[in-house]
Symmetry: C2
Subunit: 423 residues, 2 copies
């Protein structure tokens, strides 16, 4: 009985969202931008209320002893709320992707074929921790004409609802359909299963969070899923690297914000420059509180006592904290081989002044983002000029890397004829 009622409620929510999605898909750019700006202002105006609700979540998190990386992701403060609002203002300034002709072809028979960007429809986002995901997703979906169902984690439920309520009120005041965005307030896990079978009403599922969440969603879903898996990101310091530059890049990639998916987890160093590069680099890491887990060779070079021996499992691990695995490799080929075997196809960098090695690395490493001479920390919708991001896809289908407005669109073919028939 309770299950039937739940099923009915979910179905009803999905049907209302689908209906609203057709209206939002046809909404003008001006109306969408006005709503985005109003939402941003609403967040700033209601910051103290949002922070009070965030405090509730943080208190519960500390009581239930969530890991520090998770608490860091969960934490809001005035500046993080302000930057959520900034993202909404930025999204309002971005070009509306909807209706853009991606390609126009005139066929020999006179048919004019336009490939036109259109919204995907209804998107379900299932996420953990970071409450800013709530407003980033609302902003990006609204601008790209997609209706949105949010399902946040129970650990951030108060923060998420507080943020959502502010945004929803402004959406309604702007005259856009109220059902275009909604949040699931009930934290019952059965609800996710119910949502994932509604393949006729929901067009796409984006899970963001831990590996187990993503695996569970992928296994259960009858709806297409774009996975945002872990980031086991590497930096390879080539024998032809500018070693000073390499030190700055590696330090930044590991230490600047270790709790996120684009932080470096594994450093690979060419054997020929390892003795010159590693001791100073590792001293600097250790001074910043980074625990080093090195291969036997790295231990020998740096002096065994200072660092732990990496196990096979270390090479696969996304630490999301101040731990780094370090390996010496023979050349760029061995580095590529290591990344192919242990990486997660997220973001990987080479530091080198040698053009051939750079191009080899960029071509052969099969990751969403491949860098030469820059920190992997740049893998981010904002840094890529997309205003904000729905996350970083580690899939190859539809969207790869930071997902912004264009990646939230599908397309349709619009064909203009003058009575053409097929012979």
């Amino acid at each position: 009985m309770k299950n039937l009622k739940l099923k009915f409620k979910i179905k009803n929510l999905c049907e209302r969202t689908k209906k609203a999605s057709r209206i939002l898909a046809l909404a003008g750019t001006g109306a969408k931008n006005r709503a985005l700006v109003a939402m941003g202002k609403g967040l700033v105006r209601n910051a103290s209320r949002i922070l009070r609700e965030n405090d509730k979540d943080l208190n519960l998190a500390r009581k239930s002893e969530l890991p520090p990386a998770m608490i860091e992701r969960l934490t809001l403060n005035a500046s993080r709320v302000a930057s959520m609002a900034e993202s909404l203002f930025d999204i309002a300034k971005l070009k509306d992707p909807v209706g853009e002709a991606i390609e126009t072809t005139k066929r020999p028979n006179g048919l004019l074929i336009k490939k036109v960007r259109v919204p995907i429809g209804v998107i379900l986002v299932i996420y953990e921790s970071r409450p800013n995901v709530t407003s980033d997703c609302v902003g990006l979906c609204l601008k790209s004409g997609n209706a949105l169902i949010l399902r946040g984690g129970s650990e951030a439920i108060n923060s998420n609802i507080a943020i959502f309520n502010v945004l929803h009120k402004e959406l309604i005041s702007s005259g856009l359909p109220a059902d275009a965005i909604s949040i699931i307030k009930d934290t019952d896990r059965k609800i996710v299963g119910r949502l994932l079978v509604e393949s006729a009403l929901i067009d796409l599922v984006i899970p963001r969070g831990g590996e187990s969440l993503i695996r569970e969603v992928s296994a259960k879903s009858r709806i297409p899923v774009i996975k945002h898996y872990k980031g086991v990101c590497h930096t390879y310091v080539d024998e032809f690297a500018d070693l000073e530059m390499a030190e700055e890049i590696c330090f930044n990639a590991k230490v600047q914000r270790p709790g996120v998916c684009n932080a470096m987890e594994s450093m690979l160093v060419n054997r020929r420059i390892a003795k010159k590069f590693l001791p100073g680099m590792i001293r600097r890491f250790r001074a910043a509180g980074v625990e080093i887990r090195g291969s036997a060779e790295v231990k020998r070079i740096v002096g065994g006592a200072a660092i732990a021996l990496a196990t096979e499992n270390d090479w696969y691990t996304e630490y999301l904290g101040l731990i780094l695995s370090v390996k010496a490799v023979k050349d760029v080929d061995e580095a590529i081989g290591h990344i192919t075997k242990y990486g997660s196809c997220h973001s990987d960098a080479i530091v080198t002044e040698n053009r051939r090695n750079a191009e080899k690395f960029l071509n052969e490493v099969d990751s969403a983002c491949v860098y030469v001479n820059a920190s992997t920390r740049f893998t981010d919708g904002g840094e890529f000029g997309k205003g904000a991001e729905m996350g970083v896809s580690t899939d190859k289908i539809h969207a790869r890397g930071p997902m912004g407005l264009e990646e939230l669109c599908s397309y349709k073919y619009v064909i203009y004829g003058k009575g053409q028939i097929r012979r």
Copy 2:
């Protein structure tokens, strides 16, 4: 024991294909084109052998009394083999999508970000009947740098293997990796289930065939699926249509090749011109052997005896044969409403000289291909200038409508820095 052996065999096949996919991904355009031309010539040279194998399939099909639409799809002849070869020559002439920079951004911090087209990796195609799918898929995957595993239906197994063998021999002679294409010769259905869990080795599954096949694949697959569902295609004849043009378009859309997914299944006619348009149109359809199933109003207009009364189920049905459902509607809004409810988001057309109604229809009908004043029969990779097609996607994720070379690609971000770190 047998199951374990099967599992091992499938795993091994997938691993070899994955490995070959990394080599093929980096292959030059010249090498790929030479292989495509050799394959096309091989088909022509071996046409009589292929037709002999096709005869075996056709004899079995007739014995097991397959429906005529299926036998029509299964049938090869000299001209169909020649057009398979033509498709391969056409694909060789198309621009190589791999490596193309889709977008280039220079960020304020100096980072140069290139969004570059790359192959998806390993693609599994599961298909029924039409043997030309074998060579179209090989051609498109090869040119787009993707490795391919083919799993055809048992009803076409002799034709498919004959075609594959010709193509495979030419691939090897061209020096490209032999494992880049393979066909599953064993028709045991368990194999499909085994393939669909290999999500680390296969990047995409494309099922082409009946609805039950596609539903089964979608339900079982742990790998992303791009569905090629049915085509319940509509033509709406507006009150402002050029009625002579409308008659030609509707006749073509229904009769020219009724067994395929882009043929019209349902004709909607504006009430104001129904009396003028329908009697002659339906006479012509009936003379061509088309069975008409009309709404009560259509029966009244045309004269009840000549046509059957359409049931609710008729509006949802893809006949794939000489049957047509016909309905009178009040206006373009009712036509759009009908298509939204009963259509399959494949291809739908409006015939009208009224610009407002045309734009309304094109914007609001949420289908892969929307036409004004042309036959829906044009929804086809070749007709769209794509050389050939992997099929027509009715999904909105990644690819929609005819899938050609570009739609068989993913992309990666290649980022060039000069030591940039994130602040």
